[in-house]
Every structure is written in C-alpha cells, then in structure tokens.
C-alpha cells in the first residue's frame, strides 16, 4: 500500500450531496463566482496533522504503518449579504453543511483510506474563495486514517 491522500480527495469529490458541487484537489476553482454552493479543498492548507504511527517491527517497506491526517475543506454557500436581509440563505447553508457531514458519515468503504470522520466545529462565518471574494460558508475538516504500509 502507498500513501493515497489524493485518492482520498477523489473519493470525497465523488460523494453525492444534492445541490453541492464537490471539487477534487485538481479542480479547485480560481473563484466561487456562479459556482456556489461549492465545497473544495482549502488551497491554503489542504492537509494538516499528518501523523504516521509505526505498527510493527521492521524497517523500510517491511514495517506496518498507519497514518492519520486531516483534510481541510472550504464550503461557500452564497455571497455575503445575498438575499433581501442578508440572512435569507443562512438556513440553506446549514442544511447543506448537514448534508455534507451526513454524506461523509455514511461512508463505509472508500478508496484510499480505511476510515473518515468529520471533526471540525460547524461555524458559519465569512469564508473567502481562492480569489479573496467573501462568501457565507464554513471551514470543514475530515479526519482520515490510512493503512499506509
């Protein structure tokens, strides 16, 4: 087995969440304009807390190794201030985040890793797209375990 971070990202991109476009690492949009609601890997910090753990004796490729890491995503729902009051889309934003978490929690077997669980606090705030434009959204983190070797 080899490290499969990009494969795990592809598995996440393959999830089906009604109304939400989910991006892989290789198709993060340069801007969120006309693409929302959209979930994409955080371009500034896609991977964090990378923690390999040796599981057996041996050296090089012969030892068993697990690895845990966090994949960080950005969810943007609509432009800040959209709607009549600026809060019209808040419930819709939370519903989509719920749906994303439900989809991730429902994963049993997936390509790349052996376990995945959402770990971030759901904090609906102003999030920037890769171009720096502000949207209503939140940061989402998925904790992944791989049997690396």
């Amino acid at each position: 087995m080899t490290l499969a971070i990009t494969t795990v990202c592809t598995s996440i991109a393959a999830l089906s969440v009604s109304g939400v476009k989910i991006c892989d690492l290789d198709n993060i949009p340069p801007s969120g304009t006309r693409l929302t609601p959209i979930l994409f890997p955080d371009p500034a910090n896609p991977l964090s807390n990378f923690t390999p753990e040796v599981e057996s004796f041996g050296g090089g490729s012969s030892r068993l190794l697990d690895v845990d890491y966090d994949l960080n995503y950005v969810y943007i729902h609509c432009e800040v201030g959209a709607g009549r009051t600026g809060l019209d889309y808040l419930e819709g934003c939370v519903l989509k985040v719920q749906a994303i978490y439900d989809a991730v929690l429902s994963i049993d077997v997936f390509t790349g890793g052996v376990d995945i669980i959402p770990t971030s606090n759901i904090q609906i705030i102003t999030m920037a797209d890769p171009s720096g434009k502000n949207y209503l959204g939140c940061a989402l983190t998925f904790h992944v375990k791989e049997f690396w070797r």
Binding site: L64, D108, V109, V114, D115, K145, F147
Partner: protein, 269 residues
C-alpha cells in the same frame, strides 16, 4: 473476502440470531488461552519447561449502548438472559463488511451478567461472557476460530442451492480428523414456520464439482423464524476436508436471511 489489516468498525456481533453490531462499542478480547503445566524435571532440565494444559476460550466482554427498542433492542435481548447460554458469533470483516470466507470467532458461552452503567455521559450496558459453556455442544472442541461461510445476507428459493466455490479454511491441511462445529444465525425469513435446511459442504478443492455434503453438518429441515440460532457439532473424530462452503435447501421457505460459519478443528490437544 479481502486480506490484510482491518478496523473494529467492520466487525459484526451476532448473538442468538440477532445482530447486535449496531449497539456494540467493543467486544473482546476474543481469546484462546492454555494453562501452562510446569513439567520441569529439576534434576535433569536446565530450564523450566511447560506443556499446554486445558484451553480457556472466551469472547471477553461486550460493551454496548443501552437501547430499549422492543424485540430487537439490546435491553430486550440481553437483560433477561444473564446466567444463560448464548450462541455468539463475531465475524471479522476486513476493510469492509464481513464477506464469505472471512475469519470468524464462534462458540457457546454463558452470559455472566447484565450491567448498566454510565460512561462519559452515555448510558451503556456491559455484558461479560464466561468461557466455553459447560452445557454446550461446542464443549467437544478447543477451536473457536473458523471461516465465515455465509455473511449476513438473504438467500431466496429462486437462487436455489449454492453452486459457488468453497473457501480454504484456517489450517490449510488437506484433511483433518478432529471434527468441528457449524454455527448459524437466522435473522429473517419468509415466515416463522417456513422450513429450510442449512448445511456445510466440504471438498478437496474449492471448485463446485469437488464439493460434497459434509456428513452430519446439517440442521435438517427446520422452521426458520427470525432470531433462530444453533450449533451442529460433529464428532471429534470426524473427517473434514480443506475447502468448505455453505449450503441451503429450501422447504416451504422462499427466503432466509442468515449467517453461518464452520470451525474446523486441527489443533486439539
């Protein structure tokens, strides 16, 4: 059937015909331990030496979430059964839900207690098991590990008998003459009184053409209500060949949802 490492989330726990996996937090240690008899001859041996004595086999303790769902909930299934014998199967799925051919820990054990407690704010139930039940038919054997021949799934009379390949089992020996036992759990069927026969085939190879009924390893034609489980023990001198598979013959039943496993004994001491 995958091979390699796995995680507990792909284990499944079946007790007396019910799937308790959704309530189970942990179970174990799934253990086979031999007492070590000290046979050191102090005037001749330069080191202390031992021989394995009687085996102690236990599934350890089931830690579960308390749930009072009627009929199929943990409370309904385990609170009144403390002190009684239970047919227990732990199917070990490998990076996926258990599949035909996966490892399996089975046996008849006494449920020692039913203990409800609080753990980190959650209401939980702790269910410790004894070792091999003294009134169980698995008592003839010292091997709880075997092959999951049929993972929890429905079979229908339209599909008919099993003509698929068998599975190589744990020992890899062409034949053994120490018997074994067959455990089955029925989770649902077309009707409580509907009949079918569950059994085991063995063979010299995995191919369908080389498979024959394993003598004695059959339930006979019985009613298949949900929540049925049982053990069919062979004689401890019975010959079992290397490859095994599940088999079903439909009587009046048109559908049976079941899991079954065979524990082939090869290390009886």
């Amino acid at each position: 059937m995958a091979v390699g490492r796995t995680l507990p989330k792909w284990w499944r726990v079946y007790v007396n015909g019910y799937d308790l996996s959704g309530y189970t937090r942990t179970i174990g240690p799934l253990s086979v331990e031999y007492d070590a008899a000290d046979v050191t001859a102090y005037m001749g041996d330069t080191v202390k030496c031992y021989l394995p004595n009687t085996a102690h086999i236990s599934p350890g303790t089931l830690n579960a979430v308390f749930d009072n769902t009627a009929t199929t909930g943990l409370y309904a299934l385990t609170q009144a059964t403390a002190g009684s014998q239970r047919n227990l199967m732990v199917a070990i799925g490998v990076r996926g839900a258990p599949a035909d051919g996966d490892p399996c820990f089975c046996g008849q054990f006494g449920q020692e207690a039913f203990q409800v407690t609080e753990d980190g704010g959650a209401v939980t139930a702790t269910i410790p098991y004894t070792g091999w039940a003294a009134d169980g038919s698995t008592l003839l054997f010292s091997q709880p590990w075997g092959t999951l021949l049929h993972a929890n799934a429905a079979r229908t009379s339209v599909q008919g008998a099993n003509a698929g390949d068998g599975f190589d089992n744990l020992s890899g020996m062409a034949t053994t003459t120490q018997g074994g036992f067959f455990m089955y759990h029925v989770f649902a069927s077309s009707g409580a009184g509907h009949t079918a026969t569950l059994s085991v085939d063995d063979g010299t190879s995995a191919a369908d053409a080389d498979m024959d009924p394993l003598a004695g390893a059959t339930t006979g034609s019985i009613a298949m209500p949900a929540g049925l489980s049982g053990v069919v023990a062979l004689l401890p001198t019975a010959t079992v060949r290397q490859y095994l598979r599940w088999q079903i013959a439909f009587g009046t039943a048109t559908s049976v949802t079941f899991a079954c496993a065979f524990m082939r004994v090869y290390n009886q001491s």
